[in-house]
């Protein structure tokens, strides 16, 4: 191999790269990291720029804001019932999480710790259902939950404008993933611990809630977070099951959409509301993260 091959600028760069591979790897790492962070954080930056730009300058907006209108955050909170929307969202998400974890625990116990005929096919069915897009159920579920159907002569309850109109479909959509996560975690708890709890005086259910669930805390918390976030940001059912007024349990995404009226589109308000709406989720994840770490380190199972 002659020196000739390394002539010219490109050649010199290639030569340098070959002889200093560590530097190249490091460069690659930083390029990757910076791109990832930019892709992840840019939307937040853009939301911020959008929020603080006065509404008459929105159409010539650049990458850097030219005017700061920080007051928009106050306006959003004071003049619109944003807190009410957020409250509705949190409440509905919380109810869904409780229902999902409770039902999911029972199912996860059965799938993870009990042998019964048809277990495999049933899990497969669950998996198949979980892959259906929620929107596929939109019309039938709307009919079902607004009292438009009658089953065996009994009309279905009208849940339009109630939290249950959303909790039901959300639970249905979130249960499969919850069951899968909890099945995995519950199946890893040694049988001996459950046996010990039962001999000591619990029922199977008691053992589930007193021993298996606490020991699976990381899994339970993970499932809860996934469900909570999923519900918090869900749009279709939130949009279709209420009329959009906060008194009728309209959630945050509907509230944000309400800034877009027939003739005006208050993008800065929407951006500000979105940023505020992120806060509860951010707080939740930070708190839960601590819990997950604690759950993981407190383990130490002896098998």
């Amino acid at each position: 191999m002659s020196e000739q091959q390394y002539s010219g600028l490109t050649g010199r760069i290639v030569k340098y790269a070959i002889h200093n591979s560590t530097d190249v790897y490091r460069l690659g790492f930083w390029v990757g990291l910076v791109s990832f962070i930019m892709i992840t954080l840019f939307p937040f930056y853009w939301l911020l720029v959008l929020a603080v730009t006065p509404d008459n300058q929105l159409y010539q907006m650049g990458i850097v804001p030219e005017n700061f209108n920080v007051g928009v955050f106050l306006t959003v909170v004071q003049e619109y019932p944003l807190h009410h929307y957020i409250f509705n969202s949190i409440l509905i998400a919380t109810i869904t999480v409780i229902v999902c974890i409770t039902l999911g625990s029972l199912a996860g116990y059965a799938f993870g710790r009990v042998d019964f005929p048809g277990k495999g096919p049933l899990l497969l069915l669950l998996l198949v259902i979980s892959y259906f897009p929620g929107i596929a159920f939109l019309i039938p579920l709307f009919e079902l939950l607004t009292g438009s159907l009658s089953i065996l002569g009994t009309p279905t309850p009208d849940l339009y404008n109630t939290p249950w109109g959303m909790v039901f479909p959300f639970t249905m959509l979130s249960l499969p993933i919850t069951i899968f996560i909890l099945t995995t975690f519950y199946s890893q708890i040694p049988d001996g611990l459950e046996d010990a709890a039962r001999v000591e005086g619990t029922t199977r259910l008691g053992a589930l809630f007193r021993v298996i669930m606490p020991l699976s805390a990381p899994g339970v918390v993970t499932a809860a977070i996934i469900v909570f976030i999923g519900v918090y940001r869900e749009f279709f059912f939130s949009f279709i099951m209420t009329d959009g007024s906060p008194e009728n349990w309209a959630v945050l995404v509907y509230g944000i959409l309400n800034f877009q009226q027939q003739h005006t589109q208050m993008y800065n308000m929407m951006a500000a509301a979105s940023l505020i709406g992120i806060i509860p989720i951010a707080v939740l994840v930070i708190l839960a993260q601590e819990h997950i770490v604690r759950g993981l380190t407190a383990g130490g199972l002896k098998e």
Binding site: L193, D195, V211, A298
Partner: protein, 382 residues
């Protein structure tokens, strides 16, 4: 208070019969060990007593109550597990008091009992620790404390020492024995280690293929095994078994024969029999004078010698007409014997066991057959 009664218990798993026709009565305060090879059904039997498994048929009574279909929590039992099974998310105190708290005992009563239990198992000052801060032996002590704190009718122990190292195992063995005598609680102990069974129990229940073979005090199992399985399972190293047949006034094994008059036994000329001789009941012909009733000497060659310290195991080959029979004997290590030597050995005729063609014991001594025939033990005695 704590009698346990199993009547015709049977447990099937899909197409496997794990336990069959199990009849077992454990007296109040008795320490009974269920012993047998892996997969013989001893743990399944224990599980049916604990209620973790429901038997396919049969009944189980604890303290006079039929508990066959009752869940574990309603049986007033406590259990110590092989994998220790302490709740890792609870402290030692919370572990020990778990059962009491579930039953809504007073805080003071709980504290009093926990303190008492901790004192018995010598774990004072560890109540606030979490189980993973304890050593294996300490963890198993917590397991035992958790069991005794509830003052149960019956203690169930499923190979509680199997996960401990050899030295600790022997120490804990004595400790469990002492504890059981002190508390006087009926105990059922499962192990696959015949030595553990021999040293700890009031009675040993030997199980094979899901069936109870014999349930007797340890020495009776050793001296009067009901069949070839028990004979080989109890005692270490195992009993020598020789297939042979009744030939006139002798039991002929091929390479050698032992004089024996079968009058008064169910055996007749030509019957297949199995002779059982423990390694410790074989002597060198030179020492025949030390035993009361030596057999005629058998010439053997020494194949392999295994010194274990206090004695040496000698694997011997008896050979005639190209057929060989293997024997195992234990010799005093001071004897000067080396491999490939040809020596003569004798059996102590008092200790030769005879089993019939089905493997059931006929007699346990070849001396004075008329007297021995009177207490023939056959399967089903237990």
């Amino acid at each position: 208070m704590g009698e346990v009664n199993l009547t015709d218990v049977r447990k099937e798993y899909e197409d496997v019969v794990a336990v069959e026709g199990m009849d077992l009565t454990i007296e109040d305060g008795e320490f009974v060990t269920l012993v047998g090879p892996s997969g013989c059904g001893k743990s399944t039997t224990l599980e049916t007593i604990s209620g973790l498994t429901t038997p396919t048929s049969g009944t189980i009574e604890i303290a006079g109550r039929d508990v066959t279909t009752k869940p574990p929590k309603d049986r007033n039992i406590a259990m110590v597990f092989q994998n220790i099974a302490l709740f890792p998310h609870m402290t030692v105190y919370e572990n020990i008091s778990f059962g009491l708290r579930l039953r809504n005992f007073d805080k003071e009563e709980i504290d009093r009992r926990v303190e008492n239990a901790v004192e018995i198992v010598q774990l004072e000052g560890m109540l606030d620790r979490s189980p993973d801060e304890l050593s294996g032996g300490q963890q198993q002590r917590v397991g035992i404390a958790r069991a005794i704190v509830r003052e149960p009718d019956v203690f169930l122990m499923d190979e509680p020492l199997a996960n401990l190292d050899a030295k600790l195992r022997v120490a804990m063995r004595t400790e469990i024995q002492r504890l059981q005598k002190e508390l006087g609680i009926t105990s059922v102990y499962v192990t696959h280690d015949q030595e553990e069974a021999m040293t700890m129990s009031d009675r040993i229940a030997i199980i094979n293929d899901g069936q109870l073979q014999q349930c007797s005090p340890p020495l009776e199992c050793y001296n009067r095994p009901v069949n070839t399985f028990v004979a080989q399972f109890i005692g270490s190293p195992s009993m020598n078994l020789f297939d042979g047949q009744v030939a006139g006034e002798a039991l002929d094994v091929g390479d050698f024969s032992v004089a024996y008059d079968t009058t008064g036994t169910p055996l007749v000329d030509g019957d297949r029999v199995t002779l059982g001789v423990r390694p410790e009941d074989i002597y060198l012909a030179d020492d025949a004078g030390d035993i009361a009733h030596p057999s005629t000497p058998v010439a053997v060659t020494v194949d392999v010698l295994e010194p274990v310290g206090d004695q040496t195991y000698a694997y011997l080959l008896a050979e005639t007409d190209g057929e060989t029979t293997e024997l195992l004997m234990s010799i005093d290590p001071d004897k000067e014997i080396s491999e490939d030597d040809t020596i003569e050995v004798v059996f102590s005729r008092d200790d030769v066991h005879v089993f019939d063609g089905a493997g059931d014991a006929v007699v346990h001594s070849l001396v004075d057959p008329s007297a021995a025939a009177d207490d023939v033990t056959v399967e089903g005695e237990a």
